[in-house]
């Protein structure tokens, strides 16, 4: 597609997004730290590699979700200009579909129904699904495993976001905070966004299904919310 430099330069390579199409990943952070920004960057990286992304936004409206993509894409284009930006914008538009749901309207059966609508009628066949705003406090291991099985059967890489809370100190042995502390074995990769005085750091808690070692050396630029390598 001619966007290889954008893909190669992306610091998100650390998350090993390519290869495993059945992978389930999780981005965790307290409210307002940049979970959606990171999910959208994962989605855009997937699209730039020529794949299709279904973005499911729970409790958010369509326009706001579109705006995230527009903003992140502009930020990418500012850093790495391409010859024909409108072609890239068009390509992203064609490789992305957004579905928004009210909190109460989203469940596993609805997800399956919608995915079947898209895939069987050949409307849009995603390679990756990002699910933003999923309520992990209202789910349990069995329910999430059920979703994982569904996504695996459709060979879909899936990324979730989850909100952690300062006053809930429970954590899993691999360091995954509540409300996902009892669900961490279902995820290949878990990334925690941690806020420091002047920056936000990406801490990889689980990698390839195991407890991760060492630092990711990745940060979120507070101005653009773009992922950067530490200097």
């Amino acid at each position: 597609m001619g966007y290889e430099p954008l893909v190669k330069q992306n610091p998100l390579r650390v998350l090993k997004l390519t290869g495993n199409d059945k992978k389930m990943g999780l981005i965790m952070a307290r409210a307002g730290l940049g979970k959606t920004a990171l999910l959208v960057q994962i989605a855009l990286d997937t699209i730039l590699r020529g794949n299709r992304v279904l973005h499911i936004s729970i409790g958010e409206n369509l326009d706001k979700t579109k705006l995230w993509y527009d903003d992140m894409l502009q930020a990418i284009l500012q850093e790495c200009p391409v010859a024909k930006p409108h072609e890239l914008i068009d390509m992203v538009r064609q490789h992305r579909m957004i579905m928004t749901f009210k909190e109460a309207a989203f469940d596993r059966s609805r997800l399956e129904e919608r995915l079947n609508d898209l895939i069987q009628q050949n409307i849009f066949t995603p390679d990756c699904v990002v699910i933003d705003g999923f309520d992990f406090t209202a789910t349990d291991h069995a329910k999430l495993e059920d979703i994982k099985n569904l996504m695996e059967s459709l060979r879909l890489q899936t990324w979730f976001s989850a909100t952690s809370h300062r006053d809930d100190t429970r954590v899993s042995p691999t360091g995954v905070p509540a409300p996902c502390h009892e669900l961490d074995d279902l995820f290949e990769t878990v990334v925690l966004l941690k806020s420091y005085q002047d920056h936000i750091e990406l801490e990889i808690l689980r990698d390839s299904g195991k407890k991760a070692e060492g630092s990711s050396h990745l940060r979120l630029d507070p101005a653009t919310m773009m992922v950067r390598q530490e200097d």
Binding site: L62, M97, I98, D117, I123, F124
Partner: protein
Amino acid sequence: MNKDLKFVRNIGISAHIDSGKTTLTERILFYTQRIHAIHEVRGKDGVGATMDSMELERERGITIQSAATYCSWKDIDINIIDTPGHVDFTVEVERALRVLDGAILVLCSVGGVQSQSITVDRQMTRYNVPRIAFINKCDRTGANPERVVRQLREKLNLNAVMLQIPIGLESDLEGVVDLVTMKAVYFEGEQGRDIRYDEIPAALLDQAKAKREEMLDAVSMFSDELMEAMLEEGDIPEALIREAIRKGTLSLKLAPVMVGSAYKNKGIQLLLDGVEMYLPCPTDVENIALDIDNNEAEIKVSNNTADPLVALAFKLEDGRYGQLTYVRTYQGEVKKGEFITNTRTGKKVKVGRLVRMHANEMEEIEEAGSGDIIALFGVECASGDTFCGGNINWSMTSMHIPAPVISLAIKPKDNKAQDNISKALNRFCKEDPTFKSFVDHETGETIISGMGELHLDVYIERMKREYKAEVEVGAPRVAYRETITQRAEFDYTHKKQTGGSGQFGRVGGYLEPLEEGVYEFVDDIVGGSIPREFISSCDKGFSASMDKGLLTGAPITGVRCVINDGGYHTVDSSDMAFQQAAKGAFKEGYRKAGPIIMEPIMKVAVEGPSEFQGAIMGSLNQRRGVIVGTSEEGAYTVVEAELPLGEMFGYSTILRSLTQGKAEFSMEFSAYKQVPKGVAEQLIKEYEASKKN
């Protein structure tokens, strides 16, 4: 008409189609004693609503043209523009909003915030129009005002705050609870004319208290005094709350919500009170003019009647007595017999008859002050012209007019119709800037173009009814465009020697894509290789070439023509020779410049029950659509997509059959984009075939 601008409200009533805004206007006119009987939109008496003055509107039960009317409520003079609900007619909505100070956004309590409400709301935001939301049809089965308020917040990002709650819903709707006064209000007597205030029914008291708290919390953000009064926990003066609501509304940071049912005559008088109390008067709104003599510097109009006149012609109608021009004055006065200047033409015109409009009836007046909406007779001008008095030369900011995207060929059925069609088209083009007509010289057909199938359909109906012109209508055609994608050189010599004086001209240079704009001519000639007097001939030749592309005959856009070389003959070179040379040069360059065909892409929103989401998406996908996204709210889903206009013809019938008539769609122009290769080849083939025939 009251002279003090504090007592004037210029308002519009906008909404999604079938939300009942014409019914609401009818009730407003009735309660303000402007009319003495209520006629329903689709009433059995066959009279139709007063504001639907065109026969066609009455028959179809939809409003097509906005009609201006004027009424008085208590101490207030209200000018109302009733605006059409269908998206094809949004230019009417936009023009109305341009001249209004405030608006009532009518929503159906069952349908809620529908696609057209979103379009209208976006337009209101563009023109900074403060609005009150009125949730109508609370008597209908499935009415849910709370859901509509949530949608106002979520879909339109409005800080929607309920000022009332309904007493009963659906067939049990009895009245409303006013959360400001904490009284129950009932509408009794003949046609709800008698208002009875009572204690809030015990069953609703807790809900009313909770909703009042919610309302006060939101409203107190706009008044420190109110916030202090709330903290003191004593009685909160009504005036303090109303003042805060008004402040919030005017700053566009609050959207007060009122409820009722126009059809059942409930809640209308309170809505009129709301217009008085919360919507702006002309002096509350800042309007900007451009000073033409001062490099179009922005100037705030004063609203002062003593200053020279500044008025905007926002709507034209060609009636029996000549052209009727709807005008909004921003400062100064218009007086019968006085001269005013049209800024665009520089011509002075005399104000003949001056009238105040009430649908299709009119009332003669002698003068109109600042902030008023009136109509002038016999003043020659176009829609969007500014009139000034004294020595000022200002223009109100230009209005946003979209380009037509669809066209139809029409043919008169007989000779008589031919004359009438010309008259009709002349009038429609003057009235509606989004409607265009021209004669295709190759086929001799008259082509009309506009914003959608319904838009053109309505004009064809009007030709039949108002001008007795029966026409044969061709299939709708998409307004394709052509453009170039790369730079290409040309060097063309036009030479003819066929007896008498010859023709000679050589034009060299290049074509290149123009990012913004339709056409640009650049003269880079040095050393006089083309004499100065023939430069404009080259410009003319290139410009004429833009009318018809070589691939499909569609107009060309986005081309910069640069000339940097040429040649001439002292005897044989002429204006005509260089025009021909430029046309030849354009052809030569165009073929090498990677020409492409572009088609209008529409932003389409389909709303319907969630069970049909798959079917709706499938139908859009089959039409070369890119599905942007879906929003699912329980039982209801909106699918947003971008589709080529050419694929949308007849979609309403398909959608109806797919969804048992339960889904509807709206569309608006989004952008021109390149057609796919297969479609382009087909279009080129068709064009070649048509040239041979």
